[in-house]
């Protein structure tokens, strides 16, 4: 947990999650306005948001219903996400982004994808509080360099923030698989038959697959195999890691193409960054920095952290 590792995967995850958080909060405006806006459900007597034991929810403190309050809430979410993305005051903005995600997800009818947004915001907040997620490619790091000089910091961080993120992702897949496997329709290979029959949540009619029960069984057991074994075990082997992540993307985008899922495939794509390594990310990051900051090439290759 404490062996030194490159900060790049964690830092890139912070940047991408910040960018995603901006879009996420923008898209929450519609459901939040539907419930809490001037003409929202609260105005017509709905007892929302429903309190969750011990859980902070900023929306319970705001004067609702109000379009303005919803607008400010969404703007605060977008702003904190952008600040996390550019790495400005990461210790504070990480906490704010986590609290706002927690509030948003507790206030809408949320699903597992939203829960993963909160999980990621919390774990990245911990990494930020410990000073690791802003170790490089951040305005905080730039200010540090200005104050102390580029040799003031080591260019590695302890592994625990990344390990924590990785273990959580493994838990998501593994326990999803475990709870599916405990259900008779999954362990008899029939689950996909019922999934494809949900017409409101299907993007295309796949009920014709009923004529091929072995194909439905293969899909059902394939999902279990991926969630119980392939991802939780094989992803730890460095040689097969990229292949497993590619298979995961195929899995999630395959679902998104056939079923109406809203954010699960997106947030999982973001989350996969925690399994990438310096050697995967460095060429991309260097290329992007060279493109947007032509004079930075030498500095980037010489000192990964400060830039």
């Amino acid at each position: 947990m404490f062996e030194p590792v490159s900060p790049l995967p964690l830092v890139v995850l912070r940047i991408v999650f910040g960018a995603y958080g901006f879009v996420y909060f923008l898209r929450l405006r519609e459901p939040l306005t539907f419930a809490y806006g001037d003409q929202g459900l609260v105005r017509f007597g709905a007892d929302l948001p429903r309190p969750i034991d011990l859980q902070f929810n900023l929306l319970t403190w705001l004067p609702l219903p109000s379009d303005l309050a919803v607008g400010i809430f969404v703007a605060a979410g977008c702003l904190s996400a952008v600040l996390v993305m550019i790495g400005l005051w990461v210790r504070v903005t990480g906490v704010v982004l986590w609290l706002l995600s927690l509030s948003a997800v507790a206030s809408i009818h949320s699903n597992s994808g939203d829960a993963i947004v909160v999980v990621l915001a919390f774990l990245l907040m911990l990494a930020g509080l410990a000073g690791h997620s802003g170790a490089c490619l951040s305005l905080d790091a730039r200010q540090r360099v200005r104050r102390r000089g580029p040799v003031a910091r080591t260019n590695q961080i302890p592994a625990w923030p990344v390990r924590l993120l990785q273990l959580q992702l493994i838990a998501i897949y593994f326990f999803t698989g475990v709870y599916k496997a405990m259900n008779v329709v999954w362990n008899q290979g029939e689950a996909m038959h019922y999934v494809f029959a949900q017409s409101s949540w299907s993007r295309m009619d796949l009920t014709w697959l009923d004529s091929y029960p072995s194909a439905l069984a293969a899909l059902t057991f394939g999902v279990l195999l991926f969630e119980l074994l392939v991802f939780p075990v094989v992803v730890w082997f460095r040689r097969s890691r990229l292949a497993v992540l590619a298979l995961g993307l195929l899995f999630h985008y395959g679902i998104a193409m056939t079923m109406k899922v809203f954010i699960f495939h997106e947030i999982m794509t973001v989350y996969y960054i925690c399994f990438l390594e310096e050697r995967h990310l460095r060429p991309i990051v260097d290329r992007l920095i060279r493109r947007f900051q032509p004079g930075a090439r030498r500095r980037v290759t010489q000192n990964a952290v400060v830039d």
Partner: protein, 169 residues
């Protein structure tokens, strides 16, 4: 205590809480007892581990419809049709029929009143309804196909206005 030891302790506590929260839905007495210990932490931090996506696919197909019926008899879908409305809205409307619909009555009433209030001036609908119809999914391998099944009413939330002279049935 060194910083490393403190961080180790916190990491262990976090991982323990996460592990317990993941095992809790199994419902064993030990998992239940341990969960009570970690519940404040997982609730406070939003780390509840409820990864039950598609765990129990429904053995039926549900379709949700929000309809306003006007005094001249014409019908509208003021929140869009099930195939066209924003997915989060459809997910929310579907939740009104999860469990016992009577528990969701206050929220359903608010949706109905919101739809009614947003009608153009002077054209308050005679009736607004949120309805759920379901079609059983026959088990795989049975003689009946999915398409051969009929949709039947499951539950409807209704808001009615007093009838006015000239109302069409």
């Amino acid at each position: 205590m060194t910083r490393k030891k403190l961080v180790s302790l916190l990491l262990f506590a976090h991982l323990f809480a996460i592990a317990v929260a993941n095992f809790a839905p199994m419902g064993t007495p030990t998992a239940h007892r341990l969960y009570r210990l970690v519940a404040p932490y997982v609730h406070l931090t939003g780390q509840s581990q409820n990864w039950s996506m598609y765990q129990r696919p429904k053995p039926f197909d549900a379709r949700i419809e929000v309809v306003s019926v006007h005094h001249d008899g014409h019908r509208e879908h003021p929140l869009g049709t099930a195939d066209g409305m924003p997915l989060r809205r459809l997910y929310f409307l579907e939740s009104l029929f999860a469990g016992r619909p009577a528990h969701q009555q206050p929220v359903a009433d608010a949706v109905l009143r919101r739809v009614e209030a947003q009608s153009p001036d002077g054209d308050t609908p005679r009736m607004v309804q949120i309805s759920c119809i379901i079609r059983d999914t026959p088990p795989p391998g049975s003689a009946a196909s999915i398409a051969s099944q009929q949709y039947k009413p499951y539950h409807t939330f209704t808001l009615r206005q007093m009838p006015q002279p000239g109302d069409l049935p």
